[in-house]
Symmetry: C2
Subunit: 235 residues, 2 copies
C-alpha cells in the first residue's frame, strides 16, 4: 500500500491529526501505531512521520522524521469569482482548480450575482481532499465572499497583474497572453449576468484589464476552470 | 425575452421539435404559434424559423425563414477517455468540453478501466443542452465505449495527429506543444490506474506520442478538461 497522506497546518507545532483524518486513518485505512504516514503542510513541504496513537477520534504522530520534499509556490493565479446559484458548480470548480494548481480562490458579490453566501468550511474540505489526491504541496487560500466595492478596495494596493474576463468583439487581450506574462495575477470572473457597465468602468479605473476567454459563451465555473488551465499551461 | 434556441438534426428534412423541446417550448417557455425560434443543426448552421403549432407533445415549425450564421468547425480535438467509476464526473467533463468546443468525445475500456458501460443517450442530452447554452454551432460527436484494442484498430488508418496523456519525468512533449501543432488530433486519456506498460508499447507502435499534462496528478476528468482547454487556448 502507498503511504497515506494527511494534511496538517503547522505540523511543527502539532502532533495530532484532525478528527476526520483520525477517523479515516483508524477506521478506513486501519492504520496501526508505528505505521508510516506523510504529512503535507500545504505551504510547500512534505514530511515523513510515524503514527504514535491510532485512534478513531484522536490520532497522534511522532515528531517529523524526515523532510521529503520542499517546493516554492509557482501558482501565479489568484481567482475571484461571483459564485453560481448552484453551489455544486463552485465546489467542482474549486476541486478542479486545486488539482491543476492555483494560489487562491475568493468570492465576490456584484450587481448581477446569483448567490450571496458561501460556506467556506465545506470548500476547505474539498480543497484539502483535492490537494492530497493530486499531491499538490500548496493549499490554495480560500477567501470568503465580499462585496464588489470592498474587493476593489482590498486589491487597490496590490502589485499583482489585474484582469477580468470580458466578452467583447474587439478584445485583443486573450487569457493566454494574460497568463503568459508569468506574473502573480488577479483574475475576476463575473456572474452569469456579467458585470454591469458601471462595474466595468470601476474595474478599468482600478487598473483591471479585460481579457477574452475565446468565442464561446461559458458558464461561470467553466470560465474559472479555463482561466486556471491557462495559467497552468503557461507554466 | 431572447429568442429561444432549439436543436434539430437535419432541420431541412424535418419540421418537428423533439418531444422534450416541444414540452419545454409549450409548457416552460409558453411559446405560442407564430413565435420566432432559432434552430441549431449542430453542424455549423443557425436558422431563424417560426413556430407553427405549439403543443406540449409535438410542436412544429415553419420552413426555415433565414440562415443566420454558418461556421466551419475549428474544433480540432477528438478525445477518447477511459470513463471514471462515478458517471457524474464524465457528465461534467462532457458538459465542460462541449462549452469550450470539442470535435468528438469517445470512450474506451482498457486493462485498468473502472467502468465498462456508458449511457450515450444521457450524455447526448447534456451535450445538446451545453451546446445551446454556450451557443456552439457544432455538436460534438459522442462515440460509444469500445475496447482498447478495437480503438487502436479503428484509429489505425486515420490521418490525425495521435497522442496520449502520460506522466513521466523525461517527457518533453507537453500538451501545449501538442495542441499548438494545430492539426486535427486524437488524444487518449487513460484510467485512474493508468495505461499498462503493455498498452503503452501498443500505443507507441501505433504512432501515438505521449504528452505531459504538467506535474500535478490529475483525476481522469480533469485531464480531459485540461486537454480540451489546451486545444481551445491554442485556437
Amino acid at each position: 500500500m502507498a503511504i497515506p497522506v494527511f494534511f496538517v497546518e503547522n505540523p511543527d507545532k502539532s502532533d495530532v491529526l484532525s478528527a476526520d483524518d483520525s477517523f479515516h486513518a483508524n477506521k478506513v485505512l486501519r492504520l496501526k501505531s508505528g505505521d508510516a504516514i506523510y504529512i503535507l503542510d500545504g505551504a510547500g513541504k512534505k514530511f515523513r512521520a510515524k503514527l504514535l496513537v491510532s485512534d478513531a477520534r484522536k490520532s497522534t504522530y511522532s515528531n517529523i522524521i524526515l523532510e521529503i520534499e520542499e517546493k516554492t509556490n509557482k501558482n501565479l493565479l489568484n481567482l475571484w469569482i461571483a459564485p453560481t446559484k448552484q453551489m455544486e458548480r463552485m465546489e467542482w470548480m474549486v476541486e478542479k482548480c486545486t488539482e491543476m494548481g492555483i494560489r487562491s480562490i475568493g468570492f465576490f458579490q456584484s450587481k448581477n450575482s446569483e448567490r450571496k453566501e458561501i460556506k467556506i468550511q465545506r470548500l476547505e474540505k474539498i480543497v484539502i481532499s483535492a490537494m492530497k489526491q493530486s499531491k499538490q504541496l500548496f493549499k490554495p487560500q480560500l477567501n470568503p465572499i465580499i462585496s464588489f466595492d470592498d474587493l476593489l478596495k482590498k486589491l487597490e494596493k496590490s502589485f499583482e497583474l489585474k484582469g477580468f474576463a470580458y466578452i467583447s468583439e474587439n478584445n485583443n487581450l486573450t487569457i493566454r497572453s494574460f497568463a503568459n506574462m508569468k506574473q502573480e495575477s488577479i483574475a475576476l470572473i463575473g456572474p452569469e449576468g456579467d458585470f454591469t457597465p458601471n462595474e466595468i468602468i470601476k474595474l478599468n479605473s482600478h487598473g483591471f484589464k479585460g481579457f477574452s476567454l475565446g468565442n464561446s459563451i461559458l458558464r461561470t465555473e467553466t470560465a474559472g476552470i479555463l482561466t486556471c488551465a491557462s495559467f497552468n499551461l503557461s507554466n
